[in-house]
Symmetry: C2
Subunit: 218 residues, 2 copies
């Protein structure tokens, strides 16, 4: 996908602004597992995701993780350019969950565009509002959904993302996504297995009864 | 405070833009306890807070609350004009925690300004980034701080805001702030009392040992 495809406001940009974006965008390929952003010191620029999958998460002092949101094809990652805005006062990390192709737009160039163009500034605002909405959804989940529902939702989402019933994921990794301890995950997975919703396999989890998992969430 | 005082970017605005803001700003007074915003249907406009205190919170289907952030003198409340941005996909409520004086800037007028002025659009971006940072802080608190630490921090903050050791607040209200059940709050307050950190009084809580509460948080 061309860089223009990431900007629904492309038609409203001047020829100059379009050329700046086209010339600024650098193709990048990152292998699955790569940490593409590790906090404000990085601040390389915006990522426009052409294919693959990124995961944004926060880290506690003790090294515990919580997944904040994921980014897919056609998404723009704003916080990898967080130093653009002085009011962004939090640290997130971003890793490639799959092999990922992206356009990198360097921070300085995008910042200059945003400062001079109200169209780009407002579009940036909409991107931030989208992420904000995802984070608010997460708070509601954490506060008001019991862990069995959250875990069932996570397994179903993984199944959809991987397009497979056989998920290759460790209990440790799930715990990192959900910001809890591995033991808590293992206990609940054992319960799901006893209810025939899943089967625990060597190095993974097999979804046996999607319907039953879905019913849990309702 | 004049409306210009809320816009650090005032010097960068055109005479026209300044006049639009000055003419648009309507003085409002809201009594403590008033619900000033109840979801996107309201969408009256931005609030620029001249004095007093607002509380933004989310509500579960069962009527449970969690305080997301608070707004004080000199703050601008953006989400009371959430319909300005289509990507804001969450509902918050905002109530006056104290008698509050504010300027109301109607949504339509602000939206027009934001669409034409990159300076105003970028400033709006910074306001949203500030709120985003507060929400990220909240997630870290919920995920990684135990409840005793969160409650101690809440009591200390209340003491500072009220400029008093004697807090007039019910256990029910604290539970609403923290998104938990009243019983959980009462249990922990009883423990704090047994440790001589606080005294439970008729209709309130007295902070007896600030130092000890502070140590709990460290």
């Amino acid at each position: 996908m061309d860089i223009s495809g990431f900007f629904p406001i492309w038609d409203k940009l001047s020829t100059n602004e379009r050329e700046t974006l086209i010339n600024a965008a650098q193709p990048r390929f990152v292998k699955k597992g790569t940490l593409v952003y590790g906090g404000s010191a990085d601040c390389v620029g915006l990522f426009a995701i052409r294919s693959g999958q990124l995961r944004a998460y926060i880290l506690s002092d003790e090294g515990r993780e919580v997944t904040i949101y994921r980014l897919f094809e056609r998404d723009i990652c704003l916080f990898s350019a967080s130093c653009m805005m002085s009011s962004i006062q939090f640290e997130i990390s971003i890793e490639a969950e799959k092999d990922t192709e992206l356009w990198l737009i360097p921070t300085a160039i995008y910042k200059t565009l945003m400062e001079s163009s109200s169209v780009i500034a407002n579009y940036t605002n909409e991107i931030m509002a989208s992420r904000f909405s995802e984070v608010m959804w997460l708070i509601e989940q954490i506060m008001w959904k019991s862990f069995d529902k959250r875990l069932a939702a996570f397994l179903l989402e993984e199944g959809t993302l991987e397009e497979s019933k056989a998920l290759k994921i460790t209990h440790e990794k799930i715990a990192n996504h959900m910001g809890t301890a591995r033991e808590v995950v293992t206990r609940m997975l054992n319960y799901f297995q006893s209810e025939d919703m899943i089967a625990l396999t060597r190095g993974g989890i097999e979804i046996k009864n999607r319907k039953k998992l879905e019913n849990l969430i309702k």
